[in-house]
Amino acid sequence: MTETLKSVLAQQAASVAFKPPDLEAIARDHNRNIRRRRVTTVLATVAAVAVVAGTAGVLLGQPSRQADVAEPLSTGGVSWAVGSTIYHGSDTIDVGHKVKAMVRTSVGFVTVDDANNVYSVTGRGVTRIGQTPAVPADGTDYVRLVSDPQGTLAGWIGGDYSGAVLKVHDQATGQTRTFDTDGAKPPYGAVFFAIDDRTAYWRIATRGAVLAVDVDTGAERQLASSSEAHTVEIWSVENGVLAFSPNHRSNDNPVPLRVGRSIADGREITFGENAEPTGQVVLSPTGEWMSYLLVEFNGPPQQDDVRAFAAQVRDTRTDELVTLNLPQPSFAVPVVWLDGTTVQVLVIIGQDGNMYACAIPEGSCTAGRDIPRAQLEGNGLVLPNGRSVTD
């Protein structure tokens, strides 16, 4: 055997003939991609409003209703679900299945039902798009869906507990892509952390990796070394800014919490003595603001020694705290960012609840829509943060 590897490769490559690339098809596909991007932008705007009205098909065909499309939502687009109904602004959508978890995109909603089916809810209707494993026994607050509320992608864990796949659905095109995990097992071995624009963030323990993946090209960027990969927990990613815990204590609050453009250069956020944020840390679309629920304890943090809860928003660049002007006393939870400077907050006073939209950095808050008392009882309220609820 005298052939070298290099010459075998060269000779094998030279031994076959190829047709030249089809330039006409390249030009056609390129132009189609440009048109699709333009149409998607327009459709996303129309469909988002159409979903609110629940009559997208009619709206698209009725020029007389175009004024509605251009009209900004007076409620700021606050949303939640109870039973099979999604409440969005002043309108409701019956999706025909019991909603157990939900996220928003710029086009519509993605939901999970009580049989673990995943659905896309857009102006075009309700479509089943996949399946996700059942919530683990200890996962009452388990994140089942992720999305970029300003984009068109939503994601979830597919497969089962013996080996997961990662699913990314584009509501603008209706296409779902599947990414292999080499047999990684949820809920800790395969974790879908976040989607930021066209990039998905996940952990694949079988590869010892925390990855940022371009969902269009499949290009991967490793965010943590293999020794760090099992302890890094990412809570939110927006505009390339990550909120994460580098050495997270499993099943605990996100402490320490860092914010930065990479795992290596994150800046630690401090919350004062005897206080910790919960896992519901959410960055604003620009990454400039961070909302979270702060838990204040009477002494060193212990689950059964809570003194108070506080909804907080902080400037990630300066650490400056924004005071939210909410009714007091109340229990308030920041839920999701509606745009770059508006955050949706669930406020509960006694047995009554309301969704507020709070403007940042002013801190002024506007009541959106009362939540019927019956909806707050029985743990059936689903917020658009991807987390599951239990019966």
């Binding site: 055997m1 490559a13 690339p21 390129h30 490793q222």
Partner: protein
Amino acid sequence: MAAQNWTSFVEFVAARSSALQRAAYLMVGDVGLAQDLVQEALVKTCGAWPRLRDPGAAEAYTRKVITTTAMAWFRRRAWSAERSSGHPPDTPAPGHADGVTERAWLWQCLLQLPPRQRVAIVLRYYEDLSEAQTADAMSCAVGTVKSQVSAGLTKLRSLVGDEIMLPPESHEVVTS
């Protein structure tokens, strides 16, 4: 795309598409698939053309799309499971070891490698990329390239025997 950009893009395709197709073929082992892969990659390159500017950057970008798309295809189609039997192909009979047969045999052994190992070997030894350039094309760490190449060459030796003349780089100590 502006006419000037389209002209320069067409020139790039004319100059480099054959080389890109050959490399893609070595990665996937199938002529039709390689052509599809390059066609798809060139659509993306066309979209990115205004910001790529120089042909060197365009080739690196296209190669990266080809590589990551190929690996994604492998994952989707579970090619390694379908193709890899874990056993070397039949060894050429004694006395029949002419160059063509040897090459065909070695090529069949190369196709037995897991996709990432084969892609890393093609980029390093056919494309002559450095470890850093290979890592960029595969969107992975340099250490991963080293380990993939090392594992690939080790498996290749186990399939074809020690008499094969592998490149001198293959004997370097791999630490990652």
